[in-house]
C-alpha cells in the first residue's frame, strides 16, 4: 500500500471516529471537552494560515475569539439577534478587529508584531472588564441557548458537538484550499522573502493585513461557538494566557500540515482534561514540551511523525530488499 493511499485511509478512519464520537463517547464530560477542544481548534486553523503560510505569529488570538464572543452576546442582548445571525456578524467584527490591530502593527515585523498582538490582548481584557453594562464588567454576559434550526435542536450536547465538528471540518477544508491556492502561494512568498516579494510586485502590506483579518474571522467563528456552548462569557477567557496557549498549540502541532493544528488542540486542550492531569503539572509539562518541540521538531509533531513514517517505510523497504537477497541465496 503506497503512503498516499494509507494516509487517505487513516484520514477517513479518523474522520469517521470524530463523527461517531457522540455515540461511543464514554461520558458527558468527554464529549464536553471535545466540544471546547473543537472550538479552539478552529482558531488554530486560522492562526495556521497566518503563521504557517504568511509567517506571522500572533499571541493575541484569544482576544479575537473574545471579539467574536462578545459581538454575539451583545447582538443577542441589544438587538435580539440569535446564534445563526451572530455567526457571520461575529466573524466580520473579529476580522475588522484584526484589521484595526494589523493596520498599525504590521508596519513592524518579527517579534515586534508578536508583542503588539499580546498588548492588544491585554488591552481588550481591560476594556471588557471596565465596560460597565455593555460588557457586563468582570462578571461578563450570559447567552440564551442556541435553539432549533430546520427542526434540529442544538441544545443537546450531541448535536452541538456535531455542529462544532462541521465548523471545524469547514475550517480545515478552508485552510487546505487556501494553502493550495495562488493566494496561499503569495503568502508563502511573503513568509520566505518579503523584500523579494515586494520586488516582484506583491503588495505585501495588503496581503499580510488580509491574512491577519482572515485568521481573525476563524477566531470570531470559534468565539461564537465557544460562547454559546459555555452560555456565559467573561474577560478572563480571552486574556494573555489563553492566547499563549493558542500560539503554543499551533507550534506544537505544526502550522503547515493539515492535521497539525488539530493535533495541537488535542495535546494542549483535550488530553490534560481527559487524563485529569493537575493544571500546574500540565503547564510545566507544556513549557518544557514547547521548548523541546521548537528545538527538536520545528515543523511540529505531525510533520515530524510524517518524517518518522517515511523513515520507517524506507527502513522497511531496505530490510525487505535484504531478505529477498538472502532468500535468493546471494
Amino acid at each position: 500500500m503506497s503512503g498516499r493511499v494509507s494516509g487517505r485511509v487513516a484520514s477517513a478512519a479518523f474522520l469517521l471516529l470524530l463523527v461517531a464520537l457522540p455515540w461511543i463517547s464514554p461520558s458527558y464530560r468527554f464529549l464536553s471537552i471535545a466540544i471546547s477542544t473543537g472550538t479552539v481548534a478552529i482558531t488554530l486553523y486560522g492562526l495556521a494560515v497566518l503563521f504557517g503560510q504568511a509567517g506571522l505569529m500572533s499571541v493575541g488570538h484569544a482576544a479575537l475569539m473574545g471579539v467574536g464572543a462578545y459581538s454575539a452576546a451583545i447582538l443577542a442582548l441589544r438587538l435580539g439577534i440569535g446564534f445563526w445571525g451572530a455567526l457571520p456578524c461575529a466573524m466580520l467584527t473579529a476580522a475588522l478587529a484584526a484589521g484595526l490591530i494589523g493596520l498599525p502593527s504590521l508596519r513592524v515585523s518579527g517579534h515586534h508584531f508578536v508583542i503588539i498582538t499580546y498588548a492588544f490582548c491585554t488591552l481588550l481584557t481591560i476594556v471588557l472588564t471596565n465596560g460597565g453594562d455593555a460588557t457586563g464588567g468582570a462578571s461578563g454576559l450570559d447567552l440564551d441557548p442556541v435553539g432549533r434550526l430546520f427542526g434540529v435542536n442544538f441544545d443537546s450536547v450531541r448535536n452541538y458537538y456535531l455542529l462544532v465538528l462541521a465548523a471545524l471540518l469547514a475550517a480545515m477544508l478552508a485552510t487546505d484550499l487556501i494553502a493550495r491556492s495562488g493566494y496561499g502561494r503569495t503568502l508563502r512568498a511573503i513568509r520566505e522573502n518579503e523584500a523579494l516579494a515586494r520586488a516582484v510586485g506583491i503588495n505585501t502590506a495588503l496581503h499580510k493585513l488580509g491574512a491577519f483579518m482572515l485568521s481573525g474571522a476563524f477566531a470570531g467563528l470559534a468565539g461564537v461557538l465557544q460562547a454559546y456552548y459555555l452560555r456565559h462569557i467573561s474577560p478572563g477567557l480571552y486574556g494573555g494566557l489563553p492566547s499563549l496557549y493558542i500560539a503554543m498549540s499551533v507550534m506544537l502541532g505544526g502550522a503547515r500540515v493539515l492535521y497539525g493544528p488539530l493535533a495541537g488542540a488535542v495535546i494542549v486542550n483535550f488530553l490534560p482534561e481527559v487524563l485529569s492531569i493537575d493544571p500546574v503539572d500540565s503547564r510545566m509539562a507544556y513549557g518544557a514540551g514547547l521548548v523541546l518541540v521548537i528545538l527538536l521538531l520545528p515543523g511540529g509533531v505531525i510533520a515530524s511523525l510524517a518524517d518518522l513514517g517515511a523513515w520507517a517505510a524506507a527502513l522497511a523497504r531496505r530490510t525487505a530488499g535484504r531478505w529477498t537477497q538472502l532468500a535468493q541465496g546471494r
Binding site: R185, T186, A189, E192, L196, A199, V200, G201, I202, N203
Partner: protein, 236 residues
C-alpha cells in the same frame, strides 16, 4: 524621451548625502552600466528608483509617470523591476514556484510563453522541482534573474549580477543579459567587474559620493582621466 528620466535625485542617511542631486536618463535599447567606488550611491540609486527608499528631492519619471515615492510593488507592476546584490530567492519553495510567483504578478506581455520557457532560457529546467534554498550559488544567481524576468519587466535594474560568481559563470550570465534588449527588455546594471561592464554596456555612468562624475560611451568613460583617478586607478 528616455524610458526612465531622473532629475535632481537626493537621498540622505543621517549626515551622509548618499545621492546628492543625480540626473540620469535610461533608454531601453542600450545597456547602461553604473560604476563607482563602494559607498558612491549606486545601490541607493536603485533602492530609491524602485521605491525601497523615498527620495528627499528630485523626480523619477518612468514612461511618463512620476513614480518617486511610490511603493515598490506598484513600481514593479509598471514594468520597472530590480534584482538584489545578495542572491535572493524564496528558499523553501521550488525553483518553479519561485518563478511562478513572479509570473502570476506580471502586468505586461512577456517575451516568453511561460515560466518554463524562462527556466529554459536561464538553464534552470533541470532544477525546477528543487527547493531554491538548495541551489548552488551560481544557479541561485541565475534564479534571481529568472524571477525578475518572470515579472515581464520593461526595464531591469541588475545590482551586481556577477557578484560571487567565477569567471566562467560571469561570462555565461553576461551572454544571457546581452540577449535581453533583443527581447524588448531594457537593462541597467551595477557591477565592479570592468571586463563584464565593457562587454555588456554601450554606455557608462560613474558615481562618486552621490554625484555623477562621468557619463558617455563605455570606451570613452573608461579612458576618462577623472574616472581613472577616482575609481579605476589604472588604465584597463
Amino acid at each position: 524621451m528616455a524610458a526612465l528620466e531622473i532629475s535632481g535625485l537626493r537621498k540622505r542617511f543621517g549626515g551622509v548625502e548618499a545621492l546628492a542631486g543625480v540626473d540620469l536618463s535610461v533608454t531601453r535599447d542600450a545597456i547602461l552600466g553604473i560604476v563607482g567606488p563602494n559607498g558612491s550611491g549606486k545601490t541607493t540609486l536603485f533602492n530609491v528608483i524602485t521605491g525601497v527608499f523615498r527620495p528627499a528631492a528630485g523626480r523619477i519619471v518612468w514612461e511618463g509617470h512620476d513614480i518617486a515615492g511610490h511603493p515598490t510593488h506598484a513600481i514593479a507592476r509598471r514594468g520597472l523591476v530590480r534584482t538584489f546584490q545578495q542572491a535572493m530567492s524564496f528558499p523553501a519553495l521550488t525553483v518553479a514556484e519561485n518563478v511562478g510567483i513572479a509570473w502570476a504578478r506580471r502586468r505586461m506581455a512577456a517575451p516568453w510563453a511561460g515560466p518554463d520557457a524562462i527556466l529554459d532560457f536561464m538553464g534552470l529546467s533541470e532544477q525546477s522541482a528543487e527547493p531554491a534554498g538548495r541551489l548552488p550559488f551560481g544557479l541561485l544567481r541565475r534564479l534571481g534573474l529568472a524571477v525578475a524576468l518572470a515579472t515581464a519587466p520593461r526595464l531591469l535594474l541588475l545590482d551586481e549580477p556577477g557578484a560571487g560568481l567565477n569567471e566562467a559563470e560571469t561570462a555565461e550570465l553576461g551572454e544571457l543579459i546581452l540577449q535581453l534588449p533583443g527581447r524588448d527588455i531594457g537593462v541597467c546594471l551595477i557591477d565592479h567587474d570592468m571586463a563584464l561592464m565593457a562587454r555588456l554596456c554601450q554606455r557608462l555612468v560613474v558615481l562618486d559620493f552621490g554625484t555623477k562624475i562621468a557619463e558617455g560611451p563605455t570606451r570613452a568613460v573608461l579612458e576618462d582621466p577623472t574616472v581613472i583617478d577616482v575609481y579605476l586607478g589604472h588604465r584597463p
